[in-house]
């Protein structure tokens, strides 16, 4: 068996793949957090709970309505996005004029409530969700075995991430968003309905979390705590990447996933803490993050 740096190649590549998969989820979630923070000035602690909700919606669709994976990949984000729009309209929008802290407290409370409700109903053991038949099995790449579904997760999330990048950086709607991040008042005085823009931005960002939840369901099982486990790391990633750029969120998300994978291979003891170590170093050297700009 070939070895790389003293580690069997399949093990190394296996960990790298795992890292890329985690990184895909990090990227999808941190992207949404960056959009929400930029537009709404809210640190959305409910993001993990909405990711979990996406997975549960897919599970409900399958188990109660017999609707499978592919439709769920569209429907669950729509449901989560609509739920997000209701949250934004009825609660979050009342807090924009106040300190960040209020938005954080509200969304933290919402996360506890949503997760608590699912936990009461379904416990913490996790519900299995089958891999869709078209994506079962895998490919032997020679140097490693690639399960098809995992390859799909990486590809799908990269496509969605770059779709989002395109939307924000290359379209008229995206120009409204970027301008509103800089100066909402003026954008509104040009005749753009900024409150509506904020609602749509929140709905879109949490729909991304719902999408990630569906992608995750066949890998991690559907578990009320699946969001909680992930979201702390995602916040660290947001801090590392900074909130300035969409591309920054994507690159940092994928990059941190890979770094975690490598750490698991070479120094497993540090794999859970390496993200926070990087965060501390980045904070010390570049307080606005690797890709961030100081905010006015």
């Amino acid at each position: 068996m070939t070895e790389l740096l003293g580690v069997p190649a399949p093990v190394l590549f296996g960990q790298l793949l795992l890292g890329l998969i985690n990184g895909s989820f990090y990227a999808l979630l941190s992207l949404g957090l960056a959009v929400i923070f930029g537009m709404l000035n809210v640190i959305n602690f409910a993001h993990g709970a909405l990711y979990m909700t996406g997975a549960f919606v897919a599970w409900f669709l399958l188990n109660y309505l017999g609707i499978g994976y592919w439709p769920a990949l569209i429907l669950a984000p729509l449901v989560v996005g609509a739920f997000g729009i209701v949250l934004e309209k009825t609660m979050l929008s009342r807090l924009y004029k106040l300190d960040h802290l209020y938005g954080l407290l509200l969304t933290f409370g919402l996360a506890l409530i949503i997760e608590g409700l699912f936990r009461n109903a379904y416990g913490v053991s996790g519900q299995p969700y089958p891999i869709p038949s078209a994506l079962q099995g895998g490919q032997n790449l020679g140097f490693m075995f690639l399960p098809t579904y995992r390859g799909w997760v990486v590809v799908a999330s990269i496509i969605v991430c770059f779709g989002t990048w395109f939307l924000v950086e290359r379209t008229r709607f995206g120009a409204y968003l970027r301008a509103a991040v800089e100066n909402q008042e003026l954008v509104r005085a040009f005749g753009i309905n900024v409150p509506l823009l904020m609602t749509l931005a929140y709905g879109f960002a949490v729909a991304l979390a719902g999408f990630a939840g569906v992608l995750a369901a066949p890998i991690y099982q559907v578990n009320p705590l699946m969001g909680q486990d992930l979201i702390i790391v995602v916040f660290a990633i947001v801090v590392i990447g900074g909130l300035g750029s969409i591309l920054g969120s994507i690159v940092t998300g994928l990059g941190i996933g890979v770094v975690e994978g490598l750490t698991k291979t070479f120094y497993p003891e540090a794999s859970a803490t390496v993200v926070f170590l990087i965060m501390a170093i980045v904070l010390a050297l570049r307080p606005h993050g690797l890709f961030g700009r100081p905010r006015a």
């Binding site: 008229r172 120009a175 970027r178 800089e182 509104r188 040009f190 005749g191 753009i192």
Partner: protein, 240 residues
Amino acid sequence: MPEAAGGGEALLRVKDLHAFYGESHILHGSEFEIDAGEVVTLLGRNGAGKTTTLKSIMGMVEQRQGSITLDGTELIRLSPDRIARRGIAYCPEERGIFASLDVEENLMLPPTVQSGGMSVQEIFQLFPNLKERLRSSGTQLSGGEQQMLAIGRILRTGAKLLLLDEPTEGLAPVIVQQIGEVIRKLKAKGFTILLVEQNFHFASTLADRHYVVEHGRVVDEIPNERLQENMGKLHEYLGV
């Protein structure tokens, strides 16, 4: 002629306008009006409330009272986006060029609110510099170019009333001249312009009338043709 504007024809009519930032009461019953096609300036010292007056018209202050009508329609309860959609465009004192947008995106940002706006080609004829710099980030432009972009982008929208806040502030004399030329052309095209200016020599080359703002209200009105005879009074108002 302007004094006779008491009939129904004023395009913009401001009556007993009060504006507040939190606890501070900034405008104290300002009154003035502008007829369609006029260029009118607001003159006044620093802190007199000129910018606040423009922002109040746009609905951008936290709280305002009184009456602002455009073509007879009351605006005082409308949000800034609704006001803009009625055909008023605002060019802020700090220019408000977006750093995360390139020049073209900045130019195309304000949505069309009415038909009859200028085409991008016409805007490039007024401001040839902009055409060369379309791919630059908005804030890589020089101060003068940023000002041109800030004016240019509101000409596309079809708004017929322009609120320009100190468009010549801090700019080199040649650029000031160029902007003066543009404002004259805009007047010729039929735009109505409310212009805030510190530089009344510049203002006197463009404007039909001048309002003097002091302590949050309009305290005097001077037709441009009577500016010379009012110089002494004006120097006193402006403290120059």
